[in-house]
């Protein structure tokens, strides 16, 4: 899809999202908000995986940090301060990403996949055992955050805040991807050794990317906690890390808009399957297996899909 076409689609999509509250009911709006939150999450991972080539299987850890941060900043039966809690949650996720990043970036390739998974599980494990975090049952947030006239618990305020965050995140990542920093990340993905031999301090670049991705994941986690009013250790776990990775690859890696598409597909699929059966993870697993076998370049590249199907029939 060429540039003009893509811009047109994005603008139309944005318009649809803005107009949605007019003709959609609460259920659909909640679903749309959930998709948008997952889209932010998926885009953040796309920065790591699609652009920098770092396959992290523990990205949910930072999503969870953002979510639990809101819980910790929310008074027991009141609403958290939006202006304070949102930046603090994002900062907390960024700090967590900094610490974890300093450790995991000392390895790469398969080892990186394994250690990110392990550290993600460390968060999960710690949260299940920590009473101050609610333990394995998790905890509730009884009111959505608010500040002055903006109460996320009323009207469509939450929906529009998430929409603004999505648009802002998209633009931020888009600009980043096309900046020299983004180009350097792509270079690292292509041939890290050559990048170093040219004089790039690749470790620094990777750490910065890791922290930015973690911060954005924390933002998504914050909204997730605000939307559902509940946090539990699963938010740190490998299931979510795997799911968001799936979203990135479904959408085609390295194209920031692709992650939005991937998030939409997976959330809608989960919703649809969940309505069919309580054992929806089984068809979801089968779908993922089939998708990996058939879609090497993700949904955002239809030509490649067609080519793959043709090749498999012939070969």
């Amino acid at each position: 899809m060429n540039r003009r076409g893509l811009q047109a689609v994005l603008v139309i999509g944005l318009a649809v999202l803005i107009a949605l509250p007019v003709f959609a009911g609460k259920y659909d709006l909640d679903l749309a908000a959930k998709i948008m939150i997952m889209a932010i999450f998926a885009m953040s991972l796309d920065l790591l995986v699609g652009i920098a080539g770092m396959v992290s299987l523990g990205h949910a850890a930072f999503f969870g940090v953002g979510a639990y941060a809101l819980y910790l900043l929310s008074p027991e039966y009141g609403a958290a301060n939006l202006i304070v809690s949102l930046p603090v949650a994002v900062a907390a996720a960024a700090v967590a990403a900094l610490i974890i990043g300093l450790l995991v970036l000392r390895v790469s390739g398969v080892y990186f996949i394994m250690v990110t998974l392990a550290f993600g599980e460390m968060f999960y494990y710690y949260a299940t055992g920590a009473r101050w975090l609610g333990g394995s049952d998790g905890a509730y947030i009884y009111q959505r955050p608010q500040i002055a006239l903006v109460d996320l618990g009323k009207g469509h305020a939450f929906y529009f805040l998430v929409l603004i965050a999505l648009a802002a995140s998209y633009m931020f990542l888009h600009i980043l991807a096309h900046s020299p920093f983004g180009h350097a990340l792509r270079g690292i993905r292509g041939n890290e050794h050559r990048m170093r031999s040219l004089g790039f301090a690749t470790a620094r670049y990777k750490l910065i990317a890791f922290v930015i991705a973690g911060a954005l994941a924390g933002l998504a986690g914050y909204f997730d906690a605000a939307q559902f009013g509940v946090v539990n250790p699963e938010l740190f776990g490998w299931r979510l890390s795997g799911a968001v990775l799936m979203m990135v690859i479904l959408g085609g890696m390295g194209r920031v808009h692709g992650a939005i598409l991937g998030a939409a597909v997976l959330v809608l699929l989960e919703n649809f399957l969940g309505d069919l059966t309580t054992h929806w993870l089984l068809p979801m697993g089968l779908f993922i297996i089939a998708a990996v076998l058939l879609l090497p370049r993700g949904l955002a590249d239809p030509a490649a899909i067609w080519r793959t199907i043709r090749e498999r029939r012939v070969g």
Binding site: G109, V110, Y111, A118, Y125, L245, I249, L281, V292
Partner: protein, 293 residues
Amino acid sequence: MSDPAIFFLIQVLNAVQYGLLLFLVASGLTLIFGIMGIINLAHGSFYMLGAYLAFVCADATGSFWLALVIAVPLAFGFGLLLETLLFRFLYARDHLYQVLLTYGLILVFEEGRGLLVGNDVHGVPVPALLNFSIPLTATLSYPAYRLALSAICLVVAGLLYLLIQKTRLGMAIRAGSFNREMVQSLGIDIGMVYRVVFAIGVTLAAFAGMLAAPTTSVFPGMGNQVLIVCFVTVVIGGIGSIKGAFLGAMLIGLVDTFGAVYAPQISGMLVYMLMAAVLIWRPAGLFGRAAAR
């Protein structure tokens, strides 16, 4: 011997037993990665499936040993089937795709198990033959089954050693990876090698699950639990190295067991702290394995 010394001995025996079981699982993982270059997230699921299979067979036949005799070949056959139907499409693919496909596989295995056998926790009775404890002092004794378990694992480790050091297949394994020409020049069909190696890897994990079932009971989360520790083992020992898997597993066995006794509050985090320490001081793993592909 005095009581504290015996107590210490018991902990060492426990550590060794846990380490040996872990080694079985980790060696399967490292074999599959070392030969075929596949990272398999569903490897923990094989452990879980082995345990549930042992439970079902033992329940049906009333004999743990009979259950093993049935379950091990089943596991091997399952491994052959999986390779033929699914895993051989992963050989040339990026690790990312391997991760995702095996992630989907975990979901299928977990839900599938839930549908077929349910999500309950089950105990598997220790076989009557070994259902006694060896007294060590007036108050302390050690379960015979655990000793037998360690012994069986050692035998398997020994067999693995023989396989790797003394057979042509083992030569291919030691050559460290998919050097197809070399393997084919040994007169071995590469496709068959991959299929058999994969099935061995699956069987190792499943067998470990079967053996562990009487001591840990059979529960849904056991697969993922062992997978994480297995990954940490491999990070410490270096992937692709059986020797590294052995030493890494032993180290974790010791750290975990003694940690639970002397520092129970943080014992669960000790494994992660160990991994963090290795990352900080020896990122190439304790045995300086070359960077993973």
